[in-house]
């Protein structure tokens, strides 16, 4: 075991807290591959939700999803692509893109790097193939090699091997809050001096087993995903990955990196209520938001990127949590969810939403909550329905998951003066 003595030597409270900036991003969603394509469609309010093609969805209540159909596999130098799950390909591709964006890709072999990623499903597609063969041929005749990339921590191991990284990794599997928790951990690790550079984010793939599960819970909408709308009927699933390169400010300055923004705060909590339903009053989600705000020094929030799944219970709970934290000001802060455009990316949701929020700061543009038509008195927030120029300096991004995992992060415009 790593810890040699439970005297726990390091005195973290005495460590000078360092600033953490974002210097690179990589993104794949149903909108496409890369920052440019994703942002063009996000700001235009385009939906990339289509009839699912990777499996037969005709027998399900919902038949659509946000498949990243423009992406198939990534180029591999060290590993054999055929043995890797789609989840590994997504993770490796977006990480390479983020490292290239940060202009650090050639240096990563020489510096200790923290990899902190979130996933709910891991290599679920491989698991699905394996289980189907077990049923067909029996356990003894199923190939164990088919589960080579099944477990949730294997994709991180593959990424380490492929990019020949040095350092450590931690995988978070906290349902839909996984990506945000992974960013939060990377943020804390850098600001307390454990690492100067971290690769963080999240990913998940579209697969029938999970789709069937959400379908069995009647959580998938048979029509459009309409977060905060009175007539909302549920969520739509998506797939993709989002990776951010976090860096200690001085380290970024020394290598003349282009700074995209700053991570300012992170908070997490548990509902302690129910496996699938959120705690209805929003009081526990509010704890995560409050912690993040406190961590960031209580900045003014200009925009809230909501978890906004489009399910009846999540949206009311999230509204209650926002109202509880911000009081009357809650009705003024613009709020939107990107899930109606690209779907719910589960473990990848928090990371992709953090990236989109960062872009909304960079391009000073409010992101539209598409498909919103009828206001719901129980979700009486300032829902942004149209993309528009807006002076966004600081954002709050929320993620809430099954089992009552809540996580929030604060991202802000980078200013030299803190």
């Amino acid at each position: 075991m790593g810890l040699k003595n439970c005297g726990f030597g390091r005195q973290r409270a005495n460590v000078l807290i360092r600033r953490v900036v974002v210097t690179g991003i990589g993104i794949i969603t149903a909108h496409g591959i890369g920052r440019k394509e994703n942002w063009a469609k996000i700001k235009s309010g385009v939906s990339s939700i289509k009839r699912i093609t990777s499996f037969d969805s005709s027998k399900y209540r919902g038949k659509t999803g946000g498949e990243a159909s423009q992406f198939s596999t990534t180029i591999l130098n060290k590993l054999k692509g055929k043995r890797l799950d789609r989840a590994s390909h997504l993770l490796i591709h977006t990480t390479r893109e983020a490292l290239a964006d940060a202009n650090i890709i050639d240096a990563v072999k020489d510096i200790p790097i923290l990899l902190s990623v979130g996933t709910t499903l891991g290599g679920m597609l491989s698991g699905e193939i394996f289980h189907k063969k077990v049923i067909k041929r029996g356990l003894n005749r199923a190939k164990v090699s088919q589960v080579f990339d099944y477990l949730a921590h294997y994709q991180a191991i593959h990424l380490f091997k492929e990019l020949e990284l040095k350092g450590d990794f931690l995988v978070f599997s906290n349902a839909c809050a996984s990506g945000t928790d992974a960013i939060g951990h990377a943020f804390n690790s850098i600001r307390y001096g454990d690492y100067d550079v971290a690769i963080c984010g999240g990913y998940d793939t579209m697969n029938e087993f999970s789709f069937a599960g959400f379908n069995s819970l009647m959580a998938i909408t048979p029509s459009l995903c309409k977060p905060f709308d009175k007539n909302r009927e549920g969520l739509v699933l998506g797939e993709g990955a989002g990776i951010l390169i976090l860096e200690e400010l001085e380290h970024a300055i020394r290598r003349n990196a282009h700074i995209l923004g700053e991570i300012a705060g992170y908070g997490a909590s548990s509902d302690a209520c129910h496996m699938t339903s959120p705690e209805p009053s929003g009081k526990c989600a509010a704890i995560a938001i409050q912690k993040a705000l406190k961590d960031a020094g209580y900045p003014e929030i200009d925009y809230i990127n909501a978890h906004g799944t489009g399910t009846k219970y999540n949206d009311i709970m999230e509204t209650n949590a926002i109202m509880m934290v911000f009081g009357n000001k809650a009705k003024e802060i613009p709020v939107s969810s990107i899930k109606p455009m690209i779907g719910h990316l589960l473990g990848g949701a928090g990371a992709v939403e953090a990236i989109v929020s960062l872009l909304s700061i960079l391009y000073k543009t409010l992101i539209p909550n598409i498909n919103y038509k009828t206001p719901d008195p129980e979700c009486a927030l300032n829902i942004a329905t149209e993309a528009m120029g807006y002076n966004i300096k600081t954002i709050l991004s929320n993620s809430f998951g099954f089992g009552g995992s809540n996580a929030s992060i604060i991202i802000k415009d980078f200013l030299w003066k803190n």
Binding site: A13, L151, S173, A212, L217, K291, G403, S405
Partner: protein, 191 residues
């Protein structure tokens, strides 16, 4: 902020019946969806009780950091087999939520009303990372107490009654907090 250990528990699934005699009525009366959840909840219940933590906790003073290895696949298998044998109607809305690795941590937070952060880390070595994470969170003043540990598959050829799973957890606490509570502090070290 100096974290110290104020609670330790290690229970095999072979000993679950005996363990059930050590828990409070509140835990004994709970119904569990599967034996992994039972082992996790019962282990942590005994540890909290022995560390003189009032349950239900009812606040966000305690956080939970849980590691799971391949053992969580046993839950997925049951769900998957349902779908594969019976088609989509076999996708159980009861089992599906338990296929996410954080279902064990979720059940602990629900059972003991723990509202601090709960983090699940899927990994082979279930304890190292979560212990480090818990120490970091206490060090960084993000929490004053943390339950850290995990569940591991001891031997996939063993049945549950023979000890297929092992639960190991620690209660970590900020030293000042432990002193104030009059907690027993374990002088525990490992490699």
């Amino acid at each position: 902020m100096r974290p110290v250990i104020t609670g330790i528990i290690k229970i095999s699934s072979a000993d679950i019946e005996y363990a059930m005699t050590r828990v409070k009525d509140m835990v004994r009366q709970m119904r569990f969806v599967n034996s992994l959840v039972q082992l996790t909840v019962v282990s942590i219940g005994i540890m909290l009780d022995e560390a003189k933590i009032n349950i239900p906790v009812g606040n966000n003073d305690i956080s939970l950091f849980l590691g799971v290895d391949d053992s969580v696949e046993d839950i997925k298998d049951e769900y998957f087999n349902g779908i594969l044998k019976e088609g989509i109607l076999g996708a159980s809305p009861l089992l599906f939520p338990y296929t996410t690795p954080n279902s064990l941590a979720a059940q602990v937070t629900i059972a003991f009303d723990i509202r601090g952060e709960s983090i699940t880390v899927p990994i082979k070595n279930t304890h190292r990372n979560v212990m480090e994470y818990a120490v970091e969170c206490i060090d960084g003043k993000h929490t004053s107490m943390a339950i850290a540990g995990g569940i591991r598959l001891q031997d996939k050829n063993l049945t549950i009654k023979d000890g297929r799973y092992m639960a190991e957890f620690f209660l970590l606490e900020e030293a000042g907090n432990a002193e104030k509570r009059g907690s027993k502090i374990y002088n525990y070290s490992w490699e």
